[in-house]
């Protein structure tokens, strides 16, 4: 079986316990307006341009594909860039190839109680590929998913069965809001969270703080309440990263997140305390 991967990052320090390698799976069913990995959204292979050292000669765009007004960077763009700054984003790996690549660092990962984190994109979309990869991993490498939780219960339970740790996002509780900013329904996410809370698999709830979108009193209260109901007492808050928009230019896309980026975020500790949830701001 094969899976499409857009990046493998060694020594990721914020993607689970110990020191880890994070595998970024290509493709996501959501389209969060603040997404800081836009190259992970599409399931198709894409080409992305790094701004570092760009001569702005335009050769990559000239070699790209035109669809009406839009230009898409292609393999030809990568060939055309005189500085080699256009790179492919999305490479097919067989589960064996990926496991071999990850196993090369097995000794390091094991020593420090670390392992592999599957992120994305949405790793749940590649659950069969990941499950097969995990089978080939050397013993002692812990497996973690960093997920939005957007999948069927069946898929999610499959993920739980191969996981040692889960990093689970709770973004917006109101379904209309979720649909507006993330482009899908959040019902399955909330449902899977309940499964997670009961599963016994260690996990951390992560809440992105997006100014005036997720950091509103109403939303944070709803999240805290929801966590309380599920007997979860710890969450990490991730303040919006102002550089999130940087990668969109590399895909020749504009970044229109639909909120005012310059606003400060509110990390309302008090709200969570009311529901006995300890928070850590990352």
């Amino acid at each position: 079986m094969t899976g499409k991967i857009f990046s493998i990052e060694e020594f990721s320090t914020y993607d689970g316990p110990g020191i880890r390698t994070t595998v970024f799976m290509k493709g996501c069913p959501l389209s969060c307006s603040w997404c800081h990995n836009p190259e992970g959204q599409s399931f198709e292979t894409q080409y992305i341009r790094s701004p570092n050292g760009c001569l702005k000669c335009g050769k990559c765009e000239y070699a790209g594909k035109r669809i009406g007004e839009t230009i898409i960077l292609t393999e030809k763009s990568a060939g055309a860039c005189p500085r080699g700054l256009v790179r492919v984003c999305g490479i097919e790996y067989t589960s064996r190839q990926l496991a071999d690549r990850l196993n090369m660092n097995a000794e390091i990962l094991r020593t420090w109680g670390g392992g592999v984190t599957f992120s994305g994109g949405e790793p749940l979309c590649a659950i069969d590929f990941i499950s097969e990869t995990v089978k080939f991993l050397k013993k002692g490498i812990s497996v973690c998913f960093q997920t939005s939780g957007f999948s069927s219960a069946e898929v999610f339970e499959k993920a739980l069965s191969v996981s040692d740790f889960i990093l689970y996002d709770l973004k917006l509780m109101d379904n209309d809001e979720f649909r507006k900013f993330c482009g899908a329904d959040n019902l399955c996410i909330l449902h899977n969270y309940k499964i997670l809370a009961k599963s016994g698999v260690p996990f951390v709830t992560r809440i992105p703080l997006i100014p005036n979108v997720t950091d509103t009193e109403k939303n944070l209260k709803a999240i805290a309440r929801f966590m309380y109901d599920n007997e979860v007492n710890y969450a990490e808050l991730l303040p919006y990263n102002k550089y999130a928009g940087g990668k969109y230019r590399g895909l020749l896309r504009d970044y229109n997140p639909g909120f005012d980026e310059s606003l400060p975020v509110c990390a309302r500790k008090d709200i969570f305390e009311r529901y006995h949830v300890i928070i850590k701001i990352m």
């Binding site: 990052e9 020594f11 320090t13 914020y14 050292g53 090369m104 990962l109 020593t111």
Partner: protein, 676 residues
Amino acid sequence: MDENIYRSREFLLDKGYRKMRCQDRTDMREALRGLSDTEKLCRRFEQAVADEKPVFYSYDEFGFNRYRARLPIISLDKDYPFFYHDESFGNITIDYETLLKKGLSGIRADAERLYDKADEEGKLFYFYIYRYFDACELIVKKYTEAAIKCGKERLAAALRRVPMEGAANYFEALVCIKFIHYALRLNACCHLTLGRFDQYIKPYFDVSVRGGMDKAEALYLTEAFFISLNYDGDLYQGIQQGDNGQSMVLGGCDENGKDALNEISEICLTASEELKLIDPKINLRVNKKTPLSLYERGTKLTKQGLGFPQYSNDDVVIGGLVSLGYDLKDARNYTVAACWEFIVPRCGADIPNIEGGMNFPLVIRNVMLADLTACKTFSDFRAKVREAILKECEKKVGEDNAIPFHDEPFISAFVQPCIAKGREINHYGAKYNNYGIHGVGIANGADAMEAVRIAVYKDGFVTKEELIYAIEQDFKGYENLQKKLLSLPKMGNNIDSVDEQAAFLMDAFADGLNGKMNNRGGIYRAGTGSAMEYLRAAKNVGATADGRNAGTPYSSSFSPSLTAKLNGPFSAIQSFTKYDLKKIINGGPFTMEIHDTVFRNHEGEKKVAMLVKTFIDFGGHQLQLNSVNRATLLDAQKHPEKYPNLVVRVWGWSGYFNELSQEYQDHVIARTEFRC
């Protein structure tokens, strides 16, 4: 941080005091005509001493700061190499133990005792020691009077003993070290290391503790001492500002192999962390048994962005030095020279960075141009490269052995057993007189070998003639070939075939120097450092088979090439620890740049510590770790005024970013380009 320390640090960073130095310069060229070079140098010292006036800066506990920015002008008879013309012999760790114990008078007494029985050469050496020490006494007198006048009672009291007599407590020991640095530098010694400070200072520290010195006082004195080491750092620059040799080694084992980390090591780490100054540059000696907590302590320091501590691995270094012929006790006592070279304190007068280095990419390129077409197989080509490296070693040894050195009686007084032997260091006075040669561009060299193997022999996507022509043309018209070459396996990604090329190159280098004698009765040591040669030597080297363009820099020391697309730190660590580094132990660190956001909380710091420990446990010899942010560096280039105190690690040393020339700034930035 103590209030006074805070103020004196502010005073230092303001740098205004530098303008207060006297810019006059005595011209002695006429007056010294016809004298020997040794005599000229001694007279320069005496004149420099006469020209100096006591200088104390705000809240300064130690004095011994330069009044005149420059030494008197003299002209020497011989054309000494760059390093030893304007500079005196240095880059060693002197015998602080004996100095602190006996003082200058005690050392002079030894010489006096031996004078009558000495031969002519010995007598001359002792005679110069008297002259230098007499001049030292003059400076001490000036400072004693000034200290009394300024009401600096503690210093005045200390100067009644040190440096002429041995030190009796921690403060006196610090004054004595500060003095000797000042004095040797008045004799143009620019690279003077501090060695195992936490070891040799311990007896005096203990006396003070018994006498009632508490932790706060110990930290205060240490911080005041560290600040004072920074005052004149700008005057003693090597290649760029900051390259002044003030490296300090903490931790490690004692002569009997026992763990020697102590409370002074701890205080020094705290002082360095609080002060965030470029001097002294901290080196931590570690081994497989070193607990993670010490690495965490080191990581906190790395977080400050100073580019240190640099780590060295006792498990590799000590064994490596022993196999080069160093006594076990001396090897266990090893220190680090100005940058990273492993040297032996007290009795070593090694020159671990003798002119130039083994320029691997150049050697390989030359073999390609001359012999590639005739090589039927890759093994044939490898054999030619090995032959060329061996020949290059012969040549370097010949060149280096022709380098003249002038006599160095002053610093020789602090190197064992010069006085007992009646010989200064350039006349075999020291116990160790070895030369070290840097191995420059190892990663680029290994990548070039691998490129030839794949492109020409294995896959054959280019003919020998075409490849040679392409590198001769600097890939003009061969851009696609260059891209292909750049995309081949590179050192740093844990790919055995490339890493094996590096092992082959290092073996040839070590073999080529094995058994060679230098002109001072010592041996040659092969290393993995590049010093400034990653820029200087690379500048004149045409395009290379790894896809590198003509004139562009190599990677610094022992690290992946600048254009290599890297998997990440895990793979890089494994690539660079595969080789048995004991065989090539002159020094030269694996360098890793880590984005500063990783350090943003304790969890991140701890994980960096895990990574460092991994490198050591895997058998790495030396590690330099930098916390960097590319965006910050780029902004600092555009708006230097916003970043007056931004410090970066350059090669073996750290400097203020604004004080580096652009090519060095650019290289620091380029190193971050493909990193995490």
